[in-house]
């Protein structure tokens, strides 16, 4: 592999990848402003600390330097020595501590993903609920090179400082007749507080670079975006053949997707999608996928 081949390989990798929707500019500006305010506060603390130390030193040594010393300064001990400052308010913070710009992960996590605890359990529980939604004749379970995957990840803090989380499940779907064909069923739930305001087809269009025709389906008065794609449109991702998106009034956003094949699996694809379009849309509005 030479330099040109590396260049081609990297470009090919990027073209084939499915980038998530563009990042939110407003959030980036807000994060910058927050870091700026934090730095200003830190600097003010350092200045205040130095001022306190300066005053204390001046109060101790200046009178004697000027030839005085006959009187004891207020706050000084019986021998004219200023006692050490007990309050931590004026102590300069550790260098660099105030300049930390990384996200503050919740609940003691070291990064975005929760790998254990109640948050992680929710995506596992979500997998069970998703499997239960399949019609008879289909089952959701591991199949050789196709594995059930779950993930719980922190997204951001909402305006009221509540936590916004994202729960994902992607599961192989097999026909129970033993034909060995494997498809995909997927659900992603972003909890209330997300800054995205897109609904129905607007939300579906944001998902994973999947391009195709989208229709708004009414499910008991709820508007669901139902996006169908055969992956033939230029630049379209082939992750899902069909995707339903529904936004609750509280901002909770549910994506449910399905595909005849399972990405990365060598096993044959299903001959048909596990769910009809209407079933998929109804699943997106199912209350059991409304998580917090």
């Amino acid at each position: 592999m030479n330099e040109h081949e590396v260049r081609d390989a990297l470009r090919g990798a990027m073209v084939a990848s499915s980038p998530p929707p563009p990042m939110d500019t407003g959030l980036a500006v807000a994060a910058g402003q927050k870091a700026y305010r934090r730095r200003q506060t830190t600097r003010a603390g350092v200045v205040a600390g130095l001022a306190v130390v300066g005053i204390a030193v001046g109060a101790t040594y200046l009178p004697s330097a000027l030839g005085g010393g006959g009187s004891t300064e207020a706050g000084a001990g019986p021998n004219g020595v200023v006692p050490p400052i007990q309050s931590s308010a004026g102590v300069p913070p550790r260098a660099g501590a105030g300049d930390k710009t990384g996200t503050s992960w919740p609940d003691g996590q070291s990064d975005r993903t929760a790998t254990s605890g109640p948050r992680a359990d929710k995506s596992v529980d979500l997998a069970t609920k998703l499997a239960a939604a399949l019609p008879s004749g289909f089952a959701a379970r591991d199949a050789d090179d196709a594995k059930v995957r779950t993930q719980s990840q922190f997204v951001d803090y909402a305006a009221n400082n509540a936590q916004v989380w994202e729960y994902q499940v992607i599961t192989p779907v097999l026909k129970t007749d033993g034909a060995g064909q494997v498809g995909t069923l997927y659900v992603q739930v972003t909890t209330a507080g997300s800054t995205s305001t897109a609904e129905a087809c607007g939300a579906a269009a944001l998902a994973w670079g999947i391009k195709g025709d989208c229709a708004v389906v009414d499910v008991g008065g709820k508007q669901v975006g139902l996006l169908g794609s055969d992956g033939s449109e230029a630049g379209s991702s082939t992750s899902f053949d069909q995707l339903a998106a529904y936004r609750y009034t509280d901002g909770t956003l549910v994506f449910v997707g399905q595909a005849k094949a399972f990405n990365g699996s060598k096993q044959p694809a299903l001959g048909e999608l596990p769910l009809s379009g209407d079933q998929l849309a109804a699943l997106a509005t199912d209350a059991k996928f409304h998580l917090d």
């Binding site: 330099e3 081949e5 980038p19 990042m23 980036a28 994060a31 975005r112």
Partner: protein, 167 residues
């Protein structure tokens, strides 16, 4: 919104996508790439007033990005995480599929962070040796040697099938 915020927002909207692509190649995960870009742009925001020569913002931003990546990797961040624990590594998927990217990205994963940064800057960002050296705060000789070692590691990691394909 102040003029500073408006200019910053405009720059973020224009360039965050490209920076995120670079970050993705560095850390191999879109979520971590977004975290890396967010941290990078936050640092950029703090330095925004100082950057008088705005024609160099791109190189400055890229410099923050790769240095943050290398630094954070030393601290144990940006390790690729896998969904399934304990499952065996699947065989390389067929070439020509979207999973090709996994072959390249997984091979990149085995390249040490600093060498990976050199490869991405040189062959994804198309930076010169000198520009790469400035971004990583090292000498041009170091860039050349790190690029050679990185390529050697990639060669060793890529499946024979894939190498045949790219030849």
């Amino acid at each position: 919104m102040t003029d500073r915020d408006a200019a910053f927002a405009e720059y973020f909207a224009a360039r965050s996508g490209a920076m995120r692509g670079t970050a993705f190649l560095l850390c191999g995960d879109w979520h971590r790439a977004e975290d890396l870009v967010q941290v990078t742009f936050t640092k950029l925001y703090l330095a925004w007033k100082r950057i008088a020569r705005h024609e160099v913002i791109d190189s400055y931003t890229r410099q923050i990005l790769v240095r943050t990546f290398v630094s954070d990797t030393r601290l144990g961040r940006y390790r690729r995480e896998r969904f399934a624990d304990g499952s065996p590594e699947p065989e390389s998927p067929p070439v020509g599929s979207p999973e090709d990217r996994m072959v390249v990205l997984e091979a990149l994963e085995h390249v040490p962070p600093r060498q990976r940064a050199v490869l991405v800057l040189r062959y994804w960002e198309d930076l010169s040796v000198e520009e790469t050296a400035r971004a990583l705060k090292c000498t041009t000789g170091t860039v050349k040697s790190q690029a050679a070692r990185g390529l050697q590691t990639l060669r060793g990691r890529l499946a024979d099938e894939y190498q045949e394909r790219v030849r």
